[in-house]
Symmetry: C2
Subunit: 423 residues, 2 copies
Amino acid sequence: MNIEIVNTGSELMLGRVLNTHQQWLCRQLADMGWVVSRQVAVDDTAEAIAAAVSEALRRADLVITTGGLGPTSDDRTRAVIASLLGVKLRQDEAVLARIQGYFTARKRPMVESTRVQALVPEGATVLLNQHGTAPGLVMQVNDPAGGPVRRLAMLPGPPRELRPMFTCQVAPLLRAAWGADTRFACRTLRTTGLGESLVEERIAPRLEPLTQAGLQLGYCARIGEVDVRLAAAGPNGSRVVAEAENAVRSLLGDWIFGVDDEALEEVVIRELTARRLTVATAESCTGGMISHRLTNVPGASAVFWGGVVSYANAAKELLLGVSPALLAEHGAVSEPVVRAMAEGARRRSGADYALAVTGIAGPGGGSEGKPVGTVFIGLAGPQDTVAARHLNPFDRETFKWATSQQALELLRRALLKQESPPA
Amino acid sequence: MNIEIVNTGSELMLGRVLNTHQQWLCRQLADMGWVVSRQVAVDDTAEAIAAAVSEALRRADLVITTGGLGPTSDDRTRAVIASLLGVKLRQDEAVLARIQGYFTARKRPMVESTRVQALVPEGATVLLNQHGTAPGLVMQVNDPAGGPVRRLAMLPGPPRELRPMFTCQVAPLLRAAWGADTRFACRTLRTTGLGESLVEERIAPRLEPLTQAGLQLGYCARIGEVDVRLAAAGPNGSRVVAEAENAVRSLLGDWIFGVDDEALEEVVIRELTARRLTVATAESCTGGMISHRLTNVPGASAVFWGGVVSYANAAKELLLGVSPALLAEHGAVSEPVVRAMAEGARRRSGADYALAVTGIAGPGGGSEGKPVGTVFIGLAGPQDTVAARHLNPFDRETFKWATSQQALELLRRALLKQESPPA
């Protein structure tokens, strides 16, 4: 099945709003076995909408539009589509009653402009909106050249209206119309610590026979992370992807920290929980990002004791007991200091592990021996204290991200060496 | 000028990655006076890339592609474009030397597959990559029908490579080629603490005459923030936007915390710096997000002392001196405890202000009197300690964001009452 998405909205063309519909819709469709072939976004003039939709209808079995169904004057999708397909708009009494009920329930007078949302193209199926006043619309479009019938689904722009409408109303329609025998298997293996080209060098030759068998292999490199994406369509898709996953796991081993949408902090919290271990943090240059990431994970409170953000040297002395002499001798960004931070945090908190970072985020503060981007990471644990040095010569936010990634990975690898206790 | 963007990547079609290039590029171009007319995203097969780029070249004066310039086998843009335009690829020695230097600087052997990135289409201008190995490329494309020359800019996919390359190399090329006489004025006023409909109710009637004069008025509501976007094209655009800004400022006053891309944490750091004041944090339910946000701002180290993430009760006692009796009597999520946290952090750090939060992020932990989402925020300052209670009944990450926003806003409003010292 050939699917295209058309997003409309001048705010998209002006770059004022981030378009999250494309990823969300593509992900939902992929999970059902259908891959979108094109995403198009245009402004909300009638000409642009008509051009984008009519081009998409020439190519695709299904065209999904988003936006332009609201009550204001820049909401043109309804009228443009009706005109494009040569059908009339009719007032839908059920939709009108629902709009009136929406205002009654909120004890507000009905705004007259919202009435336009009850106009629907002749022949359209109405999708009721559980979270707003604009209904969605689905139409069948006959190919004048006698080809297969096309479908056009028009969805409202706000994500909290679009998402449940797609899940509860559009997806079942598609499953009923197309069946679900188009299978599409997809697995993402997430690695940290290796560069993209090194990852490919290690795994691509071994996967070559599977790509002959339909494996689609993709890489996505971000700072501190390289994803390997394994996908395959058809009845053998799941088997091909499973075989590929086994091969990649045997080649990359512990470099793989998680799968699919798993973040490194989720894996760390899970491993701590499984071993009934706790962690505390002592952050300088990451400024709280590590504890922020850990506490994004539900259940973190059972294994995360807390932490300190010892930004100033005085904070390192007061909160962690790092001695002024040590700071003076080696400087705040040094291996002895990061060890003292980790050990101080572990001693004071009583946690099983304490993770510490100190570094030079820049733009200022670098020197020849310790350029901007230099980071020391320390981990104090039940057996010993380990420390690592990294160079992350990035802008401030990327520096913080890369450093937090390296610190969490140091903890994850230490946990892998610890046996899980019996359940 | 007619501009189109073509993003390539199967990860986009499978919904595995959020496409942030469109918004970023559109925003940059709009700020220079050019509005993008179409965004297209396709997978990274040669056919899809060739179709999307050749269609775009028929319509647009400038086509910007993103992605597909890396070293792996799914990076096809370079070769597809060369073939589409009927030119050969040549090895660029300067690019090759740069790639070799990249590996040498990192003390790693050069991976052979990266060599492909030194291949550039004949006639292309090479854009050196400050943050990676893949160069960008700019080509002029002559219209066979004798129309004006088209431009094609190919940029690498990783945002931290694409963004500086666009800003430092592509934007100057465009300004030189097209001039900058297309004027488009745009100003965003950022508010926190008021709902979207309340903001609109307050300002829309007064702005009505200016919308007649060409003002484009837009709202963007996110959790804890409502942006008012004022835009106008043409020679009077700047005047219209300035008049609208004055009107909105007189109506919304202190509810406006910043303009354009200014984040609340930037404003807070700026106001602290101007008054030579310092702040410490004591975070429970936000888990370090407040200190993370503050330390994202360059220069934070001059005014941010540090903080504690007192997630466990033991951490509140040990790090902040909150008495076990107070915790037992009122519970960790209470006004007396947040006041004690703020005062303890201020006393121990010696900072001028200390900001404390404690709350119930959920999903568990709520009660009838204190449902999930309940938050107490405390601010201890030179004159007194103030506390506020909020209800943020959202998912975990949104809860943390909304709470950090309310806490930073409490500090910003306290600072506004403090005179700046003489320079």
